[in-house]
């Protein structure tokens, strides 16, 4: 029995962009759906909040200066390549010394490594990009080369957060300026972010509960009774600008002054339902341990996962785990020198190990998850020359 065209429109608006592009070849009418603004809006909305299906893998920024820059995009397990982005767009970004910083609901935040003022939002599917206009006043007062950038998308708007270090202080503080994509305006927060005595790992921000959270580095910089003696999490409330310290689980920090310690925080579970939270992943002596923050107010953690890398049945003999992340709040993704693997953390795929790819991104690859949508890049959007 034939299916009416308007139903086809609705059905297609639930597909990831790659599948929509594939099905353009079915017939004339279907090939034109994705050109309509209403369709793009619907598809963007329908896919908002869904799990990311792909992973950008790139070398860290330090290595990027010496080895040819390469941005690779791979599918996560289960999504087996019905999601993706056009290769020519990825090549274009790779050739132009671009670094992918963050991605959300199909938008990708990038900047040019050699020209830090060139910060832009792009959508590889629609091949459009929008450069963020940096006001002169911000350029003069701040060092853009060292700015820390973060992206947050809501259903109808996106915000890019810029943290600039105020180096005059003994313990550095950070001024936060926010670019609002929809209106194209900048707003600077009244209160600075006060991370305390330790350096923060700004490359793994966690948006949760209306605040940005960062984990500090480890290492022997302080003695008791300094409050910064042990590593900690510092949150920055995006409404009132108040910085709050969170302690880490005791087990995670008791041996943190020794080397070979690596910790990261990530979103846990789904923000949409009440199971959303923050998780802490630690790798030490080739063993992964994961805790999640069971109660935010009282800062109580619960351990949910512990596994030795050797027990995972990986192909290589040399099991030196370099970098890791948690994707979609339920999937641990990590890299050895050669390959990238995933390990399930939720009930459905608990401890299920899968190989994502072999990578060429050197010592410390950087992961950013992605979902292919037709989301608009907002005002100032232009077509990418590729």
């Amino acid at each position: 029995m034939e299916v009416p065209q308007d139903i086809g429109f609705e059905i297609f608006s639930w597909l990831p962009a790659k599948s929509i592009c594939k099905f353009k070849s079915t017939c004339n009418t279907f090939s034109k759906f994705s050109e309509e603004t209403l369709f793009r809006k619907k598809q963007t909305q329908n896919l908002f909040g869904r799990d990311d299906t792909c992973l950008f893998i790139q070398s860290d920024e330090v290595s990027q200066r010496y080895i040819p820059k390469r941005i690779e995009l791979y599918s996560l397990p289960k999504h087996q390549e019905s999601s993706g982005a056009p290769n020519n767009v990825l090549s274009f970004l790779s050739k132009n010394t671009t670094s992918v910083i963050a991605s959300s609901n199909g938008l990708v935040l990038c900047h040019n490594i050699n020209d830090p003022l060139k910060v832009f939002i792009c959508n590889p599917i629609t091949k459009s990009w929008s450069f963020i206009p940096i006001p002169e006043s911000l350029q003069i007062n701040n060092n853009f080369a060292n700015a820390k950038l973060m992206l947050h998308c809501s259903l109808d708007d996106y915000k890019v957060y810029f943290l600039f270090e105020n180096t005059m202080e003994w313990n550095p503080t950070y001024t936060c300026s926010v670019y609002h994509g929809k209106e194209g305006v900048w707003k600077t927060m009244e209160r600075c972010f006060l991370p305390g005595g330790r350096d923060m790992k700004f490359d793994m921000p966690v948006f949760y509960n209306g605040a940005l959270h960062f984990i500090s580095n480890s290492g022997e910089y302080y003695e008791r009774p300094s409050p910064f003696y042990k590593p900690y999490i510092m949150s920055y409330n995006l409404e009132n600008g108040i910085s709050t310290m969170f302690r880490l689980p005791r087990e995670a920090i008791r041996d943190c002054h020794r080397p070979c310690n690596n910790m990261g925080i990530f979103n846990w579970g789904k923000a949409s339902n009440s199971n959303g939270s923050i998780c802490l992943v630690k790798i030490r002596k080739s063993t992964f341990t994961v805790w999640y923050l069971r109660d935010y107010e009282s800062c109580s953690w619960e351990k949910v996962f512990k596994m030795r890398v050797r027990a995972m049945g990986l192909k290589e003999k040399d099991l030196d785990v370099t970098s890791f992340t948690v994707v979609n709040g339920n999937l641990l993704v990590f890299a050895t020198n050669e390959r990238v693997y995933s390990c399930g953390l939720d009930d459905k795929r608990f401890m299920v190990i899968e190989e994502i790819c072999q990578h060429n991104c050197g010592f410390n690859p950087h992961f950013i998850s992605y979902l292919d949508t037709y989301r608009s890049c907002g005002i100032n959007a232009k077509t990418m020359p590729c």
Binding site: K18, K22, S82
Partner: protein, 161 residues
């Protein structure tokens, strides 16, 4: 006189079965609701074309689950792709917004990894491109056909001949 005294509406499916459903459920069917409102006399039985009794069973299941706040538990896993399509068309005819959205999503999930040929058959559409147009659109979207798990295209083998 309006049928406000009765809380049950009688719906007769294409295969002749009569379902007595709650007024609240009938309200979720905009097509049925329109029929009720248009009728100035007490309407005795509303025929619902294109809807079979097995569709009504599932509609009632969905309704019961959503009233209990458990609409996420509703599953169409046991239906094959064609059964799912028929159900979708029935729900579309009845104009039931929420259930329609659930079903379009379910169909999208089924079709995601299928071939272009399969999708044409499923929608009952013809390839109305000229050979040049088809070649151009295929080339432009070639990246979308790359992937281990994607069903291979039957017509591609034919085109190579």
């Amino acid at each position: 006189m309006a049928s406000s005294s009765s809380n049950l509406i009688s719906l007769k499916t294409s295969d002749g079965t009569v379902f007595k459903v709650e007024r609240a459920l009938a309200k979720t069917m905009k097509t049925v609701q329109a029929i009720i409102e248009e009728a100035d006399a007490n309407i005795y039985m509303i025929p619902i074309h294109n809807v079979f009794s097995h569709h009504m069973d599932m509609i009632i299941d969905y309704y019961k689950l959503s009233v209990a706040g458990k609409s996420k538990e509703f599953s169409v896993e046991k239906l094959d792709n064609d059964e799912l399509k028929d159900f979708l068309l029935a729900v579309h005819y009845l104009n039931m917004e929420d259930l329609f959205e659930v079903l379009t999503q379910a169909v999208a999930d089924r079709l995601e990894k299928k071939s272009v040929g399969y999708v044409r058959k499923y929608f009952g559409i013809e390839n109305d491109f000229t050979p040049e147009e088809y070649a151009a659109i295929r080339k432009k979207n070639d990246w979308a056909f790359k992937g281990d798990d994607i069903e291979p295209e039957e017509d591609e083998e034919k085109q190579e001949e």
